[in-house]
Subunit: 207 residues, 2 copies
């Protein structure tokens, strides 16, 4: 795999994939970089450059074959791995993620749930039993979990991250509003819903 | 308010605000740009530059007064407006957002819910009655809604956006995986949970 691909290019890959899935649903089989650019609000030049970085070239004057390009980007993104997810913290957000239909269409599946609240442990969410957080290593090993999703309060998040890493997860998706420390071999993506909403507030104040 | 502030700087403001709230909770009253940089993984130089753009200057050799800086950034972000939110599409994600405790701490409140499913209309989520989407304009006006949150499937999102704009919302937060068209006077922020997860998949494939 190529080294030194810009983070910005990597960050756009999921957007291309998402759009190509929608385009394919519209029964469109060939799409130009111009049309992709319109749909994504990214210049056609940038799109062609990004895709070329990953060896994806359109046919000049015609465009890209949608199905092939979608599959190729899916492979570049590693989605064929069909990653297995565990959610730690089954509150409203954790529960919503356990039911998030879009994961399945990307090949991800939620296979384990953890909480520290004894009233929640033993209940089922979307058919999956909630385990006690004290059984994390055993369950994560038994379920071959790849990704740990952290949806606990900020003050508990680092401890949960440490437990997930010790249990052997290969990646962490963090929804707690705090910077976590993980080994460099464990990719970490942070998601903070309040950031987008605060940005919206800023722009609305300017109007 | 200053013009021509870079989007990157604006995008970092909510991160500063979020971190300063956590710092204040730790009963820290003064913080250096070095320490802020460690917590945020942003260089101290960039932090000082960003904050200076908004007229926020630390005391040389000492740092920033946490409470004042936090309040000032809160005002720059427009959070004092105590925006009122409506959620359209009360599925798992919409329902989770209706219960999302972090909104209240930012001054946002969910005041209206809409769905097109007659089995959902009339039920209550977090004490708020779900209205029929056909009553949107009336309810949005009556509840003085500022922000519309879109948590419906991609194919319905543009229609919902059009209705929200016609009903008078001042901003839209979109969770549907599709590019929306709105008037330039209506700020729009897109949130797509699958993007972060796909990026994680990419990085995990590289390990």
């Amino acid at each position: 795999m190529k080294k030194n691909i810009s983070q910005a290019t990597i960050d756009r890959l999921p957007l291309y994939f998402r759009t190509l899935r929608l385009v394919e649903d519209e029964d469109i089989s060939i799409i130009s970089s111009d049309e992709l650019g319109r749909r994504l609000d990214i210049t056609p030049e940038q799109i062609r450059k990004d895709l070329a970085t990953f060896g994806q070239f359109g046919r000049k004057g015609i465009g890209y074959y949608v199905h092939d390009l979608k599959d190729n980007i899916s492979n570049i993104l590693g989605l064929q791995n069909r990653w297995r997810l565990a959610i730690v913290g089954v509150g409203h957000l954790g529960g919503a993620l356990a039911n998030y239909v879009n994961f399945a269409s990307l090949g991800f599946s939620v296979v384990a749930l953890f909480d520290r609240n004894s009233r929640v442990v033993g209940t089922a969410v979307n058919g999956i039993r909630v385990n006690s957080i004290s059984h994390m290593k055993r369950v994560i090993t038994a379920q071959a979990v790849d990704i740990g999703i952290i949806t606990v309060p900020a003050e508990e998040a680092q401890s949960v991250a440490d437990s997930l890493v010790a249990a052997g997860v290969k990646g962490i998706w963090n929804f707690a509003p705090i910077k976590l420390t993980v080994p460099p071999t464990v990719p970490l993506v942070n998601e903070d819903l309040s950031v987008g909403l605060s940005a919206l507030s800023y722009h609305m104040s300017q109007e």
